[in-house]
C-alpha cells in the first residue's frame, strides 16, 4: 500500500494520465507567448512564470482555449530578498480533473501593480482584495479594490515581511525569552497603552478619520421611485456583524427596494485572527493546532490538508493504518459538519431549534469519539507529518471502539439521516422556501471559483477526492453527488447525499482499520524541530466539507518555518457570488442563501 501513496505525488508516472494536460497546457502557452511565459526554474517550484503585462491574455487563453477554466486560488507572496512581489495562481480543469497549472507572476516590490483577473474569473475578486489588503499588491482594473480583512484606514499591509506587529518579539519561534531565563510577562504590559495598539508616528487623533464606513455606502444612490404617488427610497440595511443568522461575525450591507434585494456587499474581517502572519512565524509543526481553528467545525480535515502540503515538502510516507485512520476521521468530520450545516440551514429557514437539536445530538456522539481518540471535542490536532498522533482508543463511552464505530456507521447515522430526510426533504415549507431561491448557474459557479457542495449543486461534478485523489481515495468506491439546479434545495440535497456517500466510504474503511490493528501509525519518530530538506513550494489540497481547502506553503532549504503560508479557504471564496445569488430575492431569503453556502467565519477571515 505504501507504493500507492507515492503514486499520488505528481512527479511519478502513476498519475501520468493526469499530468499530461498540465504539460500540454504549459507547452501550448509557451508556444503562444514565447516572450511572456517561461518555466519557473526556481528550486522546488513548478509551473510557469508569466510576465505581468501579458497576464490577462495568458489567462484568457488558458480558460478559453486550453480548458483550465477554474481559478482555484490567488496567493500573494512577499519575496523580500529579491525585492519582488509575487502572485501565484492555481488553475484547474473542471472537466478533466487532475493536477493544476500554477502561474507565478512577479512584479516590482516597491510598485506592485498587476492586471486584475476579475474580468476573466470573477472568483478572483475577494482574493485580489485580500492580496491588496495584506500585501499591498495593486490590481489594475479591479472594480472594487478596497481592504477586505482589515479596515479602511488601517496603517500598512500586515503580511509584508517588513511589517511588524505591536507584540512582535522575533521573526521565528521559539522565542528566546521563554527559555532558559524565562521571566513571565504579559505583552501588553510592555506597551504605553497597555493594549495591542500602535499609532503611526506623528499621528494625532482628529476625529475625521473615524468615519470608516463612508466608503461602504458610496455608489448607493437614494433616488425616489419614478412611479407617481409612490414615495419610497432605496433602503440600506446592515445585517451583522452581530446577527443571529450570519453564522458568526459576518456582515452584509444590503440595498433594498421595498423588500427586494438590489445589491448585497459582504463585509468580513471581524474574525481576522492573522492566521497567516502567525503561521509564517511558527515552525511547521506549530501550525498544526492553528489549522484546527480555521474551520472549527471540521478540524480533522483542516489538519489533513496541511499535513499533505508539508508531507510533499518533506517527502515523508504515511503508514497504511494512518491513512485509513485519516480517512475515517475526515469522513466522520464531513458528516459532523454537514449535520451542523443542515441544522443551521433549517434554523435559518424557520424550523427554529428542533431539527437542529436532533442533528446535534448525533454530532455529539461523533465528537465523543474524537474526544476519546484525539483528546478534544473540537480542536483535534490529531494528524502529524507522516501519520497520526495516536492510535484509535480501545473504548468510546464504555463501548469497544470498533463496535462503537460499526454501530454508529451502520445503524445510528443512517437512521438519523432517514429521520431527517423524512422530516425535511419533502416538507412543504422547506420546499417552498428553498426551491428556485439563490440560483447559481454552472458557468457562474465555476467562474466564481466556488467549491464543494456549492459547486456540485450547480451541476459541476468536481471533487478533489476524485479529481486529484489523495490518500487512498482512489481505491475507494463512492460517487460524487451532483445536482443541477443550483438553488438552496439542491445544496441541501447535496449535503444529504454526501453524508450517505461518506457512510459508504466509512463502511469500506472499517475492515481496513480492523485488518491493520497494531500496525504503526506514524512514519518514524515525530520531530518537534523539523528542518526542510529542500526548498520549494507545495500546495496541499483536500476536499473539506466546505469545499476545496488548499494550503500553499513555500520554504527555503534548512528552514524550520514556512516562508509563505497561505490558506485557500473554501468558505471565503464561496462567498464571492453571494451578492449575485441574493439579487432579486427578499430579505428573508438572504439568510437562507447564506445558510446554504455554509460558511465558518474562522475560515472566511482567518
Amino acid at each position: 500500500m505504501s507504493e500507492m501513496i507515492l503514486d499520488d505525488q505528481p512527479q511519478d508516472d502513476g498519475t501520468a494520465v493526469n499530468q499530461n494536460p498540465v504539460e500540454r497546457a504549459a507547452a501550448l502557452l509557451k508556444e503562444r507567448f514565447p516572450d511572456a511565459v517561461t518555466d519557473d526554474t526556481r528550486d522546488g517550484y513548478t509551473g510557469l512564470m508569466v510576465s505581468a503585462d501579458k497576464l490577462v491574455e495568458v489567462a484568457t487563453a488558458l480558460r478559453d482555449d486550453i480548458g483550465f477554466d477554474y481559478l482555484s486560488s490567488v496567493t500573494g507572496v512577499d519575496q523580500i530578498n529579491d525585492n519582488k512581489m509575487e502572485v501565484v495562481y492555481h488553475t484547474y480543469s473542471i472537466d478533466q480533473g487532475g493536477s493544476g497549472l500554477v502561474l507565478h507572476v512577479q512584479v516590482d516590490r516597491d510598485n506592485p501593480v498587476l492586471p486584475s483577473l476579475t474580468p476573466i474569473w470573477p472568483g478572483a475578486d475577494f482574493q485580489e482584495r485580500e492580496a491588496w489588503d495584506l500585501l499591498g499588491i495593486h490590481f489594475d482594473g479591479h472594480h472594487d479594490l478596497r481592504r477586505i480583512l482589515t479596515w479602511d484606514g488601517f496603517a500598512g499591509h500586515p503580511l509584508r515581511k517588513d511589517w511588524k506587529e505591536v507584540f512582535y518579539e522575533e521573526d521565528h519561534k521559539p522565542f528566546g525569552s521563554r527559555w532558559p531565563g524565562g521571566e513571565v510577562f504579559r505583552a501588553e504590559e510592555k506597551t504605553v497603552y497597555g493594549k495591542n495598539v500602535r499609532y503611526p508616528e506623528g499621528w494625532l487623533p482628529t476625529g475625521d478619520e473615524y468615519d470608516v464606513e463612508t466608503e461602504m455606502y458610496t455608489g448607493i444612490t437614494y433616488t425616489r421611485d419614478q412611479q407617481s404617488g409612490m414615495k419610497t427610497d432605496k433602503l440600506t440595511v446592515n445585517m451583522g456583524p452581530q446577527h443571529p443568522s450570519t453564522h458568526g461575525v459576518f456582515r452584509m450591507v444590503v440595498t433594498l427596494d421595498g423588500e427586494t434585494v438590489i445589491d448585497l456587499k459582504p463585509v468580513m474581517g471581524y474574525l481576522h485572527r492573522n492566521h497567516e502572519k502567525i503561521g509564517e512565524r511558527n515552525t511547521f509543526i506549530q501550525n498544526l493546532p492553528y489549522t484546527d481553528r480555521l474551520d472549527y467545525l471540521s478540524s480533522m480535515s483542516n489538519n489533513h490538508g496541511y499535513v499533505l502540503a508539508v508531507e510533499k515538502l518533506l517527502g515523508s510516507t504515511v503508514p497504511e493504518r494512518a491513512e485509513w485512520i485519516r480517512i475515517l476521521m475526515v469522513e466522520l468530520t464531513r458528516i459532523c459538519n454537514h449535520m451542523w450545516a443542515l441544522g443551521f440551514l433549517l434554523n435559518d429557514l424557520g424550523a427554529l431549534q428542533t431539527p437542529m437539536l436532533y442533528f446535534y445530538l448525533e454530532r455529539e456522539l461523533i465528537l465523543d469519539f474524537f474526544e476519546e481518540a484525539a483528546g478534544s471535542r473540537m480542536m483535534c490536532n490529531y494528524m502529524r507529518f507522516g501519520g497520526v498522533a495516536y492510535d484509535l482508543p480501545d473504548y468510546v463511552r464504555e463501548q469497544e471502539t470498533i463496535s462503537f464505530l460499526e454501530e454508529l456507521i451502520y445503524e445510528h447515522i443512517p437512521a438519523v439521516l432517514d429521520q431527517g430526510d423524512g422530516l425535511m426533504t419533502n416538507n412543504e415549507i422547506v420546499r417552498a422556501r428553498s426551491i428556485g431561491v439563490g440560483i447559481l448557474s454552472r458557468e457562474d459557479a465555476i467562474a466564481y471559483s466556488t467549491a464543494g457542495p456549492v459547486l456540485r449543486a450547480s451541476g459541476a461534478q468536481y471533487d478533489v477526492r476524485r479529481a486529484e485523489p489523495y490518500s487512498y481515495y482512489e481505491s475507494l468506491d463512492f460517487d460524487i453527488p451532483v445536482r443541477y439546479n443550483g438553488d438552496i434545495y439542491d445544496r441541501y440535497l447535496i449535503r444529504m447525499d454526501e453524508m450517505r456517500q461518506s457512510l459508504r466510504i466509512l463502511e469500506q474503511v472499517l475492515p481496513h482499520i480492523k485488518a491493520t490493528k497494531g500496525a504503526p501509525i506514524v512514519d518514524g519518530k515525530p520531530q518537534y524541530a523539523i528542518r526542510m530538506p529542500n526548498a520549494g513550494e507545495s500546495y496541499g489540497r483536500v476536499e473539506n466539507p466546505k469545499g476545496e481547502l488548499g494550503y500553499y506553503v513555500t520554504t527555503r532549504r534548512r528552514e524550520s518555518n514556512p516562508d509563505r503560508y497561505h490558506v485557500r479557504a473554501p468558505s471565503f471564496i464561496n462567498l464571492t457570488p453571494l451578492g449575485k445569488m441574493c439579487e432579486g430575492h427578499k430579505v428573508a431569503d438572504i439568510v437562507a442563501i447564506l445558510g446554504s453556502i455554509d460558511i465558518v467565519l474562522g475560515e472566511v477571515d482567518r
Binding site: K173, P526, Y528
Partner: protein
C-alpha cells in the same frame, strides 16, 4: 399535503418524549435514570434513548484519558506533610520551544558553580494564551508535563488566577495516575523498559541480535504517543 410535515415533526418529538418515560420506567428499579452513574453511561452512549441531558453539576460526563485542558507539572509523590515531591521537569526547554503560542516560560535552575541545574527554578504557563494542543506533553522526554482533566477553572479575576506558576502547576504523580491510569501505567512501563533495554545492551554488547531484546507489551504501546523506539 399541507400540514403533513408538521405532523411528522410532532411524531418524532413525541417519540423522543415517550422514549424518555419508557427509559425512566426501565431505570426505576435500577437506581433511577438520573444521578446514577450506570444510567448516565448508557444514556450517553449509542444505546441512549429519550432525553440525553447530562445534569451537570450533579452528574458529570466523564472525560477520556486523552482529554486535554491546561497543563500541569508532574512531581514525585510527596513525602508526608508536603504538597508535592521532587520535580520531574529537568528544564530542558523542549515544551517551551514546541509550544505553538509560546505560553510557557521556564527559568532554568543554576547550580552554585554557575552551571545549569536540571530542574526549573520557576515555571510559568499563561493559560490565557495556552491553546490546549498537547504538544508539550507529547514531546516532553521526561513525562514531566501533562495536560490536566480539571476543566472547572472559572474565576472572577484573570490577573491573579490566569498565570500559573510552578506552585500552582505542580501536582503529584498520584494525581496523574488517578486521572489517566492506563496512560500513566504505560509510561511507567516504558521508563522501566528503557532501563531494561539499557541494561540488556550493556550486558550483551553492541552486536547482539536485536530480536532478543526485551519488548514492550502491546497494551502499553497503544496508550502512548508513538515514540519511535520509545525515545
Amino acid at each position: 399535503m399541507y400540514g403533513l410535515g408538521i405532523l411528522k415533526g410532532m411524531a418524532i418529538t413525541m417519540k423522543h418524549f415517550v422514549d424518555s418515560y419508557l427509559d425512566d420506567i426501565f431505570w426505576a428499579a435500577r437506581g433511577g435514570r438520573y444521578y446514577n452513574d450506570e444510567a448516565l453511561k448508557v444514556r450517553q452512549g449509542l444505546k441512549g434513548k429519550g432525553v440525553k441531558t447530562v445534569f451537570y453539576p450533579e452528574e458529570k460526563l466523564s472525560v477520556p484519558e486523552r482529554f486535554r485542558f491546561v497543563p500541569f507539572l508532574v512531581t514525585d509523590d510527596p513525602p508526608p506533610g508536603q504538597k508535592w515531591g521532587k520535580d520531574w521537569c529537568t528544564s530542558c526547554g523542549i515544551c517551551a520551544k514546541v509550544c505553538p503560542p509560546q505560553c510557557i516560560w521556564i527559568e532554568r535552575g543554576v547550580q552554585p558553580n554557575g552551571r545549569p541545574k536540571p530542574e526549573p527554578n520557576q515555571f510559568y504557563i499563561d493559560i490565557d494564551i495556552c491553546m490546549n494542543c498537547g504538544f508539550c506533553m507529547e514531546f516532553c522526554p521526561f513525562d514531566a508535563i501533562k495536560l490536566d482533566h480539571d476543566y472547572e477553572l472559572a474565576s472572577y479575576d484573570r490577573t491573579t488566577a490566569h498565570i500559573h506558576d510552578k506552585e500552582r502547576l505542580s501536582k503529584p504523580l498520584s494525581y496523574w495516575r488517578e486521572i489517566a491510569p492506563k496512560k500513566a501505567a504505560a509510561e511507567a512501563a516504558i521508563r522501566d523498559h528503557v532501563d531494561e533495554l539499557k541494561a540488556w545492551k550493556k550486558a550483551n554488547g553492541r552486536d547482539a541480535d536485536p530480536s532478543t531484546a526485551p519488548k514492550m507489551t502491546e497494551e502499553n504501546t497503544k496508550q502512548l504517543f508513538y515514540r519511535g523506539e520509545y525515545y
